[in-house]
């Protein structure tokens, strides 16, 4: 079964060649490759052996898995996802207990150096990482072990990419992203809370086609999907430029679909493909359904102030700082005033009157 090509798997599942080619064309354009590459993508995918994939879940909520396995089902993207040899996935694996662990170890041994490691969830590091364990082993240990034999690592979701919610202040478990621990393997970050399903299949398609990682930005995200901000691709952008803003979630502006900046939309600093690929088979995305972007595909989004405060506002109250400024100024001002007054009094005391007689001397 491991020798089956992707095309074999898809044919078995009743996917026509035509549908497959359509997917390849769509994937090619999604990844911002020239259209002429579509046939190359198709060729490569047809020949691709099912790559062994090990999926580790650490400090996470399983939302990423839910997003990837359910939302698009049963589209070709999800079938491509199915077509990979998912040798170990805690949520999806049938086996339990030591049998499940044995499956992981087997897969790691058999495909050592070749398997793709997918990780969702952040890694606890505080107190030796004891705050998150599977089968008595800390996530930290498991990650290091699994990463050693991986060809590449895909960090699925914001937690494994940037630390996410567990990393949020005060970060009681010392949660860090995968990239903080593994330094010697190529890592692709696919952040989002959860990430868009088509983005993860896009990344897998790229990897299967070219055997390399797609072009990444400075945060390790594939540029094809995270190259532009939500704001720049938002269909409500013209309203921002015209100065038309919704002031509340149920006012005239909200009903007219005006810009949600005032209601806290973080679209301007958020890089993701939501505004273009959208969710639920291209149905909609948060802003389209009337809620501002939370900025979930960016680092520290949870600590970036209220979701309902405009991006340009302070993330913590400035009143204390203002109070300190005024109090310090009053204290220093009194000091300066007293000093000035004593200088003045001193000058007055030592003032010598000059008379015409003095001048004639």
């Amino acid at each position: 079964m491991a020798d089956e090509t992707l095309l074999d798997v898809l044919t078995k599942r009743g996917i026509s060649r035509r549908a497959f080619l359509k997917f390849c064309a769509a994937a090619t354009s999604l990844m911002a490759l020239p259209p002429s590459m579509a046939s190359a993508v198709a060729e490569a995918l047809m020949q691709a052996r099912r790559p062994s994939v090990i999926w580790l879940s650490f400090q996470e909520c399983t939302g990423c898995t839910e997003s990837l396995t359910r939302s698009h089902s049963p589209t070709l993207e999800s079938l491509i996802f199915d077509a990979i040899s998912l040798d170990y996935h805690e949520t999806l694996i049938a086996a339990a207990g030591s049998a499940a662990e044995a499956a992981r170890e087997n897969a790691m041994k058999e495909a050592y150096g070749k398997y793709l490691l997918l990780v969702d969830g952040s890694v606890s590091t505080k107190d030796g990482g004891i705050y998150s364990t599977v089968a008595g082993k800390t996530n930290l240990e498991t990650l290091k072990e699994a990463a050693a034999g991986a060809a590449a690592i895909v960090a699925v979701g914001t937690c494994s990419s940037f630390g996410g919610l567990p990393h949020a202040n005060p970060n009681p478990t010392g949660a860090v992203p995968v990239s903080d621990i593994i330094k010697n393997k190529p890592i692709i970050n696919v952040p989002g809370c959860p990430p868009i399903p088509v983005v993860i299949t896009g990344v897998l398609t790229y990897y299967l086609t070219f055997g390399t990682l797609p072009e990444l930005d400075d945060l390790g995200r594939p540029k094809a999907f995270y190259g532009e901000s939500i704001h720049d691709r938002c269909y409500r952008r013209p309203f921002y430029d015209q100065g038309k803003f919704a002031k509340s979630f149920d006012d005239e502006g909200a009903r007219n679909g005006w810009c949600l900046f005032e209601l806290g939309c973080k679209g301007p600093i958020t890089h993701n493909a939501c505004a273009t690929t959208k969710w639920n088979q291209g149905t909609s995305f948060p802003i389209q359904s009337g809620h501002g972007c939370l900025g979930c595909s960016e680092p520290n989004f949870w600590d970036a102030g209220s979701f309902y405060q405009a991006l340009s506002t302070p993330i913590q109250p400035v009143t204390a700082a203002l109070g300190i400024g005024v109090a310090a100024a009053a204290a220093a001002g009194i000091g300066v005033a007293l000093a000035n007054r004593s200088t003045k009094a001193d000058a007055k005391a030592h003032h010598q009157t000059v008379t015409t007689n003095d001048l004639e001397k």
């Binding site: 400075d218 945060l219 901000s229 720049d232 921002y240 430029d241 015209q242 100065g243 803003f245 900046f261 005032e262 301007p268 600093i269 960016e298 680092p299 520290n300 989004f301 600590d303 970036a304 102030g305 405060q309 405009a310 991006l311 340009s312 506002t313 302070p314 993330i315 913590q316 400035v318 204390a320 700082a321 203002l322 300190i324 400024g325 005024v326 310090a328 100024a329 009053a330 220093a332 001002g333 009194i334 300066v336 005033a337 000035n340 007054r341 003045k344």
Partner: protein, 219 residues
């Protein structure tokens, strides 16, 4: 520090620090000025002229015709920059939101492309003003480090705001952080350079106006 961390720092602790230093410095300046007091008036005027101080505060904003002719460039760049700066500061929506979040006051915003145009005009005015300052021997002679520093920290917020809006040079998040930090730098520098004139000009104009309106000596 990644761009997001920088932005969070700029929007959080740095803003508080900048505001505290700005308030501290400005209040100290005002304290210094007012606590000096005024000498006893040994020759009280014949009649008081109420409102003359306030009138001068307003009227000094308009140039005398002869002065305008004599140094057209200084006036035009000065007006363009000052008006532009305040239009950008007070009528771009994100700025209004910032003011609203701190003071609760708000007013309608102007369309972004218009603000963009005004920002460009202000930047050009500042650059022309600098060229004139360097080229003109009198202005150059009168300028010191503080003047060039004041010029630079005033230009930075406009420039970084423009670059951020147009996605130039750095990615938006980082440039936005730079923009906020540049404003914080401006706030910190204001009380300790000639930029203090944003507050003291009103005091000086009032004093001049009041003094110049004195007529005769009471007998």
């Amino acid at each position: 520090m990644d761009a997001m961390q920088l932005l969070l720092w700029a929007r959080g602790p740095a803003l508080g620090i900048a505001f505290a230093i700005f308030l501290f410095g400005m209040l100290l300046r005002l304290f210094e000025i007012y606590s000096l007091g005024r000498n006893k008036d040994l020759a009280p005027p014949r009649s008081h002229s109420p409102g003359s101080g306030w009138r001068t505060v307003v009227m000094r904003s308009f140039s005398a015709k002869s002065m305008l002719k004599a140094s057209m460039l200084t006036y035009v760049t000065g007006y363009t920059f000052h008006i532009g700066f305040f239009v950008v500061l007070l009528f771009l929506l994100p700025h209004i939101e910032l003011i609203r979040s701190i003071t609760g006051l708000h007013w309608p915003a102007l369309p972004t492309p218009f603000i963009d145009l005004i920002a460009v005009a202000s930047i050009i005015a500042l650059i022309v003003a600098l060229i004139s300052r360097v080229m003109n021997p009198v202005k150059r002679f009168l300028s010191g480090f503080g003047d060039y520093l004041a010029w630079a920290v005033t230009l930075l917020p406009l420039l970084t705001g423009y670059l951020a809006y147009h996605h130039l040079l750095l990615d938006y998040t980082r440039m936005l952080a730079m923009h906020i930090l540049s404003v914080e730098l401006l706030l910190v520098v204001i009380p300790f350079t000639k930029l203090t004139h944003m507050a003291t000009l009103f005091i000086a104009r009032w004093y001049n106006g009041d003094w110049f309106a004195r007529k005769g000596v009471a007998s």
